[in-house]
């Protein structure tokens, strides 16, 4: 038993729902109590989908237990088939139904429905959402995909995008364009937008592009083994990765690598002088393994940040992230406990967090800017505009997104220059954040000596000096000085202590 408040991943049947909702012509009959229908709102509210997810929940109640939950399941299955006439059905149990052991798969089989019925076995008390999505799609592929002749021209499948995925909608367009430039057509995108009939013809492609290992790797492995379709290992997020991806794809397709970099702006934006201030910014990266790994490379090699820590919440990628962290010479945090992540962030006190919506909240609390790079995400991470993470445009979007929460280079100097101007308001925050940017917590303007409850005492001079530090780094200067004083065993902070600390933490 483990106490949890916020979770990075839902239960595995939510992963199955992400696959079913992404597809067309497929229906999911889920043996589950009524409350589990909350999952619909993830899709209709957070992702703003305009259709109900294709799921029938049996919504059994206490009075059905022991008597006819099995019958209820069969009735629901039949009714779902009659009403929706799907090409294929997936059936499974949620955590509660798993305990009553009705065996939805076995029951559905005895019903003799005239369509493929795929039984899902998702252990709710061991595994999580990503596993659920990966396993569900794998089972669908295993059941429906048959060996067939390859298409005449070179084609590829895009594997892995699901409903409720972070920017999956736009990544598909971007990767399709990358392939198009190489003269490679897309055979099928799945599960996103695919019907069971589409899944059946996956075999026509020459190879697979594994867009998201979290949700598509098992299927790709199986397709490689059974149908001899190789799959890509590089995930094209970032400039370097996109170039590597194009080389890998060209290799698989037997064509010359070609990438249209006409619209690529990240390298120049990163090189231009305004970006000098990005140099060595200390970043902490957390999310799903794939997005963390790609973000680490961008952060270090393309933005000039210093990666001070990284980690992932999905254990399936723990090994990869541990190895990567070793390369970067930083500790790896593998955890799905957001309190642990918060502790780590507090300890490392980075200048920027690249994380999920969970880290956005942690950042808000600690006063550290955060850009979102990975699921789980919230409604504002499904923007109306085109904003992929992959490919050329993805790199541009990432530059903007990561820089946005930081105060711009020139602006930093101007703020500094005008801080004594009577019109200048310390609480105003960065100009591009409008009215909401005033993240700096109100600090008491102290004339007399002050002290925290247990921290060292600030003498009035030092406190006044601290007020001269630009507000957006003032909190950090205060913390650094206090921890410096603590390590030095000082109880009073003088102006000198402040500058000693500054020298100590200087890079």
């Amino acid at each position: 038993m483990k106490l949890s408040v916020w979770t990075y991943e839902g239960p595995p049947h939510v992963g199955a729902l992400r696959v079913a909702t992404a597809m067309t012509g497929l229906h999911y009959v889920l043996h589950a109590p009524q409350g589990d229908t909350y999952a619909d709102l993830l899709f209709t509210m957070i992702e703003r989908r305009n259709h109900r997810p294709p799921v029938t929940y049996t919504t059994f109640q206490a009075r059905d237990l022991g008597s006819d939950t099995a019958n209820l399941f069969k009735t629901a299955c039949q009714a779902a088939y009659d009403r929706y006439q799907p090409q294929a059905m997936i059936v499974g149990a949620s955590c509660t139904a798993e305990l009553i052991q009705d065996d939805p798969g076995g029951m559905a089989e005895t019903m003799g429905l005239p369509i493929p019925v795929i039984a899902l076995d998702l252990p709710s008390y061991q595994r999580r959402e990503n596993f659920g999505a990966d396993e569900t799609f794998f089972q669908i592929v295993r059941t429906l995909t048959k060996p067939m002749e390859r298409s005449e021209n070179v084609t590829a499948n895009l594997i892995g995008p699901t409903a409720l995925g972070f920017r999956h909608r736009d990544d598909i367009a971007e990767v399709t364009a990358l392939l198009g430039h190489l003269g490679i057509d897309v055979n099928v995108v799945a599960p996103y937008g695919a019907s069971p009939a589409d899944v059946a013809r996956l075999g026509a492609a020459h190879f697979n592009v594994l867009m998201y290992p979290e949700t598509g790797e098992s299927a790709c492995r199986w397709l490689e083994r059974e149908l001899g379709q190789p799959y890509t290992r590089v995930v094209p997020i970032g400039v370097g990765a996109t170039r590597d991806f194009v080389r890998e794809v060209a290799d698989l397709a037997g064509v010359a690598p070609k990438l249209d970099e006409g619209r690529l702006r990240l390298p120049w934006y990163s090189a231009s002088v305004d970006s000098t201030y990005l140099t060595g910014k200390r970043v902490f990266i957390f999310g799903d393994g794939t997005h963390v790994a790609t973000a680490a490379r961008i952060a270090r090699d393309e933005m000039g940040f210093e990666v001070v820590g990284m980690g992932c919440y999905n254990r399936e990628q723990a090994r990869m992230i541990r190895a990567l962290a070793r390369d970067y010479g930083v500790p790896a945090l593998i955890s799905d406990d957001h309190l642990e992540v918060e502790e780590k962030i507090e300890e490392l006190s980075p200048e920027l967090i690249l994380g999920t919506q969970m880290e956005r909240h942690i950042g808000k609390r600690l006063g550290i800017p955060c850009a979102v790079i990975s699921a789980p995400v919230h409604v504002q991470d499904f923007p109306a505009r085109y904003s992929p993470q992959m490919g050329i445009e993805g790199a541009n979007v990432i530059f903007d997104t990561w820089v946005h929460p930081l105060v711009m280079g020139l602006e930093e100097h101007l703020l500094h220059m005008f801080r004594d101007d009577f019109e200048f308001n310390d609480g105003a925050g960065a100009s591009h954040h409008g009215g909401h940017g005033a993240a700096a917590p109100a600090e008491p303007r102290v004339e007399a000596e002050t002290s925290g409850t247990d921290g060292p005492i600030w003498c009035a001079d030092a406190e006044r000096e601290l007020q001269k530090v630009p507000f957006f780094v003032r909190g950090k200067a205060r913390r650094n000085t206090e921890s410096f004083a603590a390590t030095q065993g000082l109880h009073r902070i003088e102006v000198d202590t402040l500058y000693e600390a500054k020298a100590h933490y200087a890079r």
């Binding site: 979770t7 939510v14 009524q34 305009n50 109900r52 709710s124």
Partner: protein, 428 residues
């Protein structure tokens, strides 16, 4: 003029036959109540003993996760807990110890049962007793079930309050208990009105902080502010208290009738009643009238959700001039919503329980101007051209009593006004 109550309809809905439905439900389970209960009871922690699904539900229903460390959490059962029950009890105690040592501000702890804990028959009342004995008097530990196999959405609050009633000491004092978790500002307004009416000894359940002086007995009368508190009402009656039946305090008419019922019980003079209520009644009418301009002669369809449907249908038809096509409720407790049914003019279909597909068919056929439904259905219906109001907002926002009557009407009129405002049709 405000003193004139509009006459009741010649034929209300009390005897309208109710369609009983049994099919797929599209509603939250009782755990959801934790979202507002933990805000209301500021020294309480709600510990769900359940699965990852339960944790995910709470997180998704909360919608925004603005609280650093909210006063609720889920003890997630794992394989090892499912293997042997003795283990689960020990594990639970360990988690509680850890929690209480980290959160000394917690004075009441609710162990909340879920589907998994019910199915494996984890005895939470035993755990609550043991833990209570251990941590008394600083912390009181109670338990209730918010599981989806037993409770629908707001029934979680009912189960929680009923558990609190069981634990109340006995009193013979004459008193009024106002029952139902209301936002503080609304509760203050209600208490202010009762005070102005000269009614003394008024208590609330649940109180903002643990209140060891609250007791119950044969000279207690109680009034409900929410229609879904059937279990709590029964628990109070078992303790000798008497229910004051009334319409629920939504809108000007509902609030007045509610106050009148309570006033009658306490023998408040008509003159005083008018003096106290005239001004707020008038304000409420004016506020409702504004929103009603948009709502008048429009039709409304309620999917079953919170059990507020019948009182709200009464408000929308009587005070806002709407027509109800169908009023679905997860459960219809005639003993509680009877007075609202009496005032709801004959006409709408009444449905209890749910078969969401059939209900959607009826909704499509009826083409209501406004559909009140859960979050899972709202956008899909909007995409079909239906204006919707998410039901969950009705339990999250302050909507009771006079000063909120206009806001309540506004919740329904806004979706319609928005549709009138948008000019997004494709160019011809």
């Amino acid at each position: 003029m405000t003193r004139q109550d509009p006459p009741p309809p010649t034929l209300g809905c009390r005897d309208t036959p109710v369609i009983k439905e049994r099919g797929q439900h599209e509603v939250f389970c009782g755990l959801t109540g934790i979202i507002w209960l933990h805000r209301k009871m500021q020294d309480a922690f709600f510990l769900v003993v359940g699965s990852r699904t339960c944790a995910h539900l709470l997180q998704s229903a909360a919608g925004v996760m603005i609280f650093a460390e909210p006063r609720f959490g889920t003890a997630i059962l794992e394989e090892t807990d499912l293997a042997g029950l003795a283990d689960a009890q020990v594990e639970l105690e360990r988690e509680v110890e850890r929690l209480l040592s980290r959160r000394p501000d917690i004075r009441q702890l609710f162990l909340v049962g879920s589907c998994p804990s019910e199915v494996i028959k984890l005895d939470l009342s035993k755990a609550a007793q043991r833990l209570s004995a251990k941590h008394a008097p600083h912390v009181r530990v109670l338990n209730y079930s918010g599981s989806g196999i037993e409770t629908t959405f707001t029934e979680g609050e009912d189960a929680c309050l009923a558990a609190m009633v069981e634990a109340l000491p006995h009193t013979n004092a004459r008193q009024l208990i106002v029952v139902g978790a209301l936002p503080d500002v609304v509760e203050d307004q209600a208490l202010g009105l009762l005070d102005a009416l000269g009614i003394e000894n008024v208590r609330v359940l649940p109180a903002r902080r643990r209140d060891d002086t609250l007791a119950v007995g044969p000279n207690t009368v109680f009034a409900l502010t929410q229609p879904f508190l059937g279990g709590t009402a029964a628990a109070l009656e078992r303790r000798g208290a008497r229910h004051i039946p009334a319409t629920f305090p939504f809108g000007e008419e509902g609030t007045t009738a509610w106050l009148r019922a309570v006033s009658k019980e306490f023998g408040v003079e008509a003159q005083l009643f008018d003096a106290v209520t005239d001004a707020p009644r008038d304000r409420a009418r004016r506020a409702v009238a504004q929103a009603a301009e948009t709502l008048r002669d429009k039709s409304v369809f309620f999917f079953p959700d919170s059990q507020l449907e019948i009182p709200l249908a009464r408000f929308l038809t009587r005070e806002c001039g709407m027509t109800a096509l169908e009023v679905g409720a997860p459960y219809i407790h005639k003993g509680l919503v009877g007075p609202d049914l009496d005032l709801l003019p004959e006409g709408p279909r009444l449905a209890e329980g749910q078969d969401v597909d059939k209900q959607l068919d009826r909704c499509m056929a009826g083409r209501p101007d406004l559909t009140v439904c859960g979050l899972g259905l709202a956008n899909p219906l909007e995409a079909e051209g239906f204006a919707t109001k998410w039901a969950i907002e009705l339990v999250f926002s302050p909507v009771h009593f006079y000063e909120q009557a206009g806001d309540l009407a506004g919740l329904f009129s806004r979706p319609l006004r928005r549709r009138e405002l948008l000019r997004l049709e494709a160019a011809e």
